[in-house]
Amino acid sequence: MRLTSLVSYIISGLLIYLSFWIAEGSNFNPLMFWDLASFLVILGGLAINLVNFKFSEIINALKDSFSSIPGNDFRARYELDKVIIRSMGNFVLFAAVIFFVLSFILVLGSLESTAKLGPSLAVSLLVIIYAVTLKVLLFIPLSVSLDKKILQLQEKAAG
């Protein structure tokens, strides 16, 4: 990973924080976005990847997306890494959507107390925020990085 990647992460994070701050002003509190249940859902989404991949394969995929290209014979390995990273992102998103729909059903099933409706729906939306953030900040950059390496290897092989 290059130094500029880190800088772009920081700039992007700061801009998002600034946009929140402008929109919400003093009402904005980062602690509002902490929810243990949502965190567990994301863990559940990550854990199901072990159905198909060994833990070492997942670690290798993460390592490979950061490291430089060692040789031409790594193309199949990078393709496998890409499948791993993509499936991690998809599983996390699906787990989040399942939990959101479940919460939505439970909220709709108990509509008598409308005072609790807003907060319950807000908490159920947090899981989607977690999943999308993880996908945007981690899985998409890693997957694109692997894509780039596969393309470079293809170019090398073509001559």
Binding site: D35, L36, A37, S38, L40, V41, L43, G44, G45, A47, I48, N49, L50, V51, N52, F53, K54, A76, E79, L80, V83, S87, N90, F91, F94, A95, V97, I98, F99, V101, L102, S103, F104, I105, L106, L108, G109, S110, L111, V123, S124, V127
Partner: protein, 161 residues
């Protein structure tokens, strides 16, 4: 499928269940998310796959993605196609059902007390579809994809890995 896969399934299911308990406590009851009409609708969606594939082909696709025995690139590609088609049919049927229920709800908007429960039942259909995708279709497809990459690695297509 490795033995460890079952543990991974259990761990993931336990995380989701714990999250539900944390978020909803004693209010959560599995009966809230049971709906027979949704189950029948989804069975109809899966049955639609028989338009394109024989029952044996579907069974073979599931068996190939679970077994560790080597298969040729073409067979694995066909298996992946079978699973993807089954998922497409299932998804399309669930979308049709959701919109059908929505039309029924919107045409009976006079009684607002029933609005919440009706919307809840409407959301159960996509929930079932998502659960099927998360726990069955995606793991099987990814397992096949992994095998396809390994089969492709062997230079000659069709060669057993």
């Amino acid at each position: 499928m490795r033995f460890f896969s079952i543990i991974a399934y259990a761990a993931s299911g336990a995380c989701l269940y714990m999250a539900l308990l944390m978020a909803w406590g004693g209010n959560f009851n599995f009966l809230y998310i049971y709906d027979l009409s949704a189950v029948i609708g989804l069975i109809a969606g899966i049955t639609l796959s028989l338009i394109n594939f024989k029952f044996s082909e579907i069974f073979q696709a599931i068996r190939d993605s679970l077994s560790g025995s080597p298969k040729s690139y073409e067979i694995l590609n066909l298996d992946r196609n079978v699973l993807q088609t089954a998922w497409k049919y299932l998804f399309s049927v669930s979308v049709i059902l959701v919109f059908a229920v929505m039309v029924i709800i919107l045409s009976n908007l006079g009684d607002t007390t029933k609005l919440g429960p009706s919307l809840a039942i409407m959301s159960i259909i996509p929930l079932y579809t998502l659960i099927l995708k998360f726990f069955i279709f995606m793991p099987l497809e990814i397992s096949l994809e992994k095998k396809i990459i390994l089969a492709k690695q062997q230079k000659i297509p069709g060669q057993v890995v």
